[in-house]
Each structure stands twice: as structure tokens, then as C-alpha cells.
Symmetry: C2
Subunit: 217 residues, 2 copies
Amino acid sequence: MATQNIKVYRDLMGENEKWAAATRTVLAERRLAMINLIGSPGSGKTTLIESTARQLGARFRAAVLEGDVETTRDAERIAALHIPVSQLLTGGACHLEAKLVHEALLDLPSENLDLVIVENVGNMVCPAEFDIGEHAKIAVLSVTEGEDKPLKYPLLFREARAVVLTKTDLLPHLRFDLAACEGFIHQVNAGIPVFKVSAQSDEGLAAWTDWLLALRG
Amino acid sequence: MATQNIKVYRDLMGENEKWAAATRTVLAERRLAMINLIGSPGSGKTTLIESTARQLGARFRAAVLEGDVETTRDAERIAALHIPVSQLLTGGACHLEAKLVHEALLDLPSENLDLVIVENVGNMVCPAEFDIGEHAKIAVLSVTEGEDKPLKYPLLFREARAVVLTKTDLLPHLRFDLAACEGFIHQVNAGIPVFKVSAQSDEGLAAWTDWLLALRG
């Protein structure tokens, strides 16, 4: 029975890979960059999207695919920015799969778009295991979560191409060792850029969006 | 092929239920209460265990089963309190399954113990789906995560028998609507107790531990 279980898992991953590859083709054809934001519930992913879209402005036109287990709350927040947004509901599943992302991508306007920001389901474990055809997974970690998370959830930090440390305005009120956290991140993924941002003060947003602008190449 | 996938999933759940039932038998025989703490990475689960163990003292003797994807950091923190603790490593899986918990439970000292606190893998989605034989799932949510989480991750808040809102000492520095959050919790699970605690000030810990003392009955 153990063998049978393994076989089914492989079939599912194969299916996912097929859709991820199809997404990569569409992104290349449309000259679109796509990032996949992964972090805990409440790590500040939606707020980061809001700040990023404002900072990018007309230089790099973004659309957003909002992944959630339930509710359209995040899509409603993004819609208020007047940029294209769709809500992807997993109906209980703990991560986005490539097929759902691909279908939503095809429905986005094909003109006047440079970047697709996917917000995955709030979860540091499962979303890191699934390729959705993105150019870069981005680990989003808030400073309120503690500095040891890169060691405890290493797959995400290994798979990510950048880390965004959010809510840095709260640092004066926390016992959070920033240098230790960066050390842990680089222990898992040497040389990965770490952007320290605050949506309250806009600290660090320019460096982060400059990195995004370079992503499409 | 879809039918085959569903069948395998059911087999796994059946296996999990068997181990959960075996755990319930052991808990009844040893007159032990068992709680299952579920929340995001960094929501304050380990710190809550530290505060709870200190607050309970000799009145209600606790042991801890620490679930993590990797590292023994949390078990080391708990060991410093000189209470029995084991680390359960899932090796990549996003939740604890009943079999691993059962094996660790059997290895705990069978005397001088009243309560087993299980800390699940940091994740608001998957752990809520798995019965590990506990008396109560406890949702742990920090006020830094935002008030809408009960609506976005309703299964956890529906399955939980109590909610612990942590890090309340940070409220003056946050835009967090406490009344709205409690409203959302009760929208999902009417009447569930919500304990507002701070490990910095010990606020709310007495009410929470009183609730735990009543759990064994």
C-alpha cells in the first residue's frame, strides 16, 4: 500500500508541473514577470502588495492573483487600488496549485501588464513545495514572528529568491535580533537578498521594487 | 483516476483515526488531559507553553510534545523549564499525525502528570484537519496577524474549543480592532472562549490556566 500512495503523489505533482510549464510559456509570450509571495497568515503579504503597487505606479504595471482558503477580503483590498485582481479560493487546500493559477492568468488583461503578483495561501510549509510557474518565490516574514523561522521552515527560505522582512517599524517594541535572523536566512540560502520594509514608514520599499524591476530582464 | 485518489485519502484518514482513538484510550487510563495548540509560525505557541507551565506550577503537571518540520529549538526552550518534553519532527510534513503523537505519548513518564500540551507545526490550515486524539484544539492567534484571520482560516476556529489571542502588550502599537476580531471568531464559532494574553505582562494567563484546570473534569 505504501508504494501505491507514493505513485499517486507523483501523478499529482506531474499534473502540477504540466500546468506550471504552460504558465511559463504564457509569461514568456506576454513578457510578464510573475512572483509568488509565501508567508504565514498575517505576515503582511497583502499590505506588501498594496505598498509595492503604489511604489511601482505606472513604471511597472502589476496585476494580482489572491490565494486564500476562503473569503474575498484580500481581493477587495487590492481592487481598491484599481489594478486587475482575481481571487483564487482553494476551498480548504493549504496552497495554490499551478492549474488554478494558470486559469486565472489566462483571464487577466493581456495588454498593459508587466508583473503578476501571486499571493499564496498564508502558510510557510506547503506552498513552498509547489511550482506554479513563477519566476521567483518570495519569502515574506514579519519581525513579530521571531528570528528563528528560517531554521524551522528551511524549505521556503531555500526555494525563495528573495526575503522581505516586514513590519520593521515594530522593531523598537520587540525582542527581535535582526542580525541573527539575517544570519539564519543566509545559513539556509547564502547570498539571498533580504529587504527590510515597513508599510507605515515606506522604509525599504524602493530597494525592493528596484529588485522587482530587474526581474523581468 | 479521481476516484482512486479519493480512496487513498480515506485510507490515510482511517489510519490516522485509529491512532487518535488509541491515544484517547491511553489518556483516559492515565487520567491525562491533552490539548493541541495550532497557529501560524511565530504566533507565540512556544512562549504560551512556557507561560502556561510557569502559571500552572505544581497544581497541574504538564508535559510537552513539540511538533516542528525541522530543528529541536522549541524542545530545548521547554526543556529549560525542567518539564518532560519530546520533539516530534515531521521531516517536511505540514502537520502532526496521530501515530507520531501516540508513540511520543507512550514514552512520556506515566506518573505525576496531568496535562499533555502538544504544539503542532506552525500552520493555520493543515493541522486543523487532523484529529490526534486531543481533548481540545486551541487556536493561537497573535494580535500582530490582523483581525480577519478567523474568517480566512475558518476551519481552525470552527474546530477549536478555545482561542488564545497572544502578544496583547503590542496592541498600543498596532492598528488591530480587538472587538472586530472577537466578532469574527464568534461568527465562525459562537460562544467559544477567547483568552487575551501577554507573556510580557502575564495579562490573561490566570483565566486561561483556570480554563485548562477545568478541562480534565
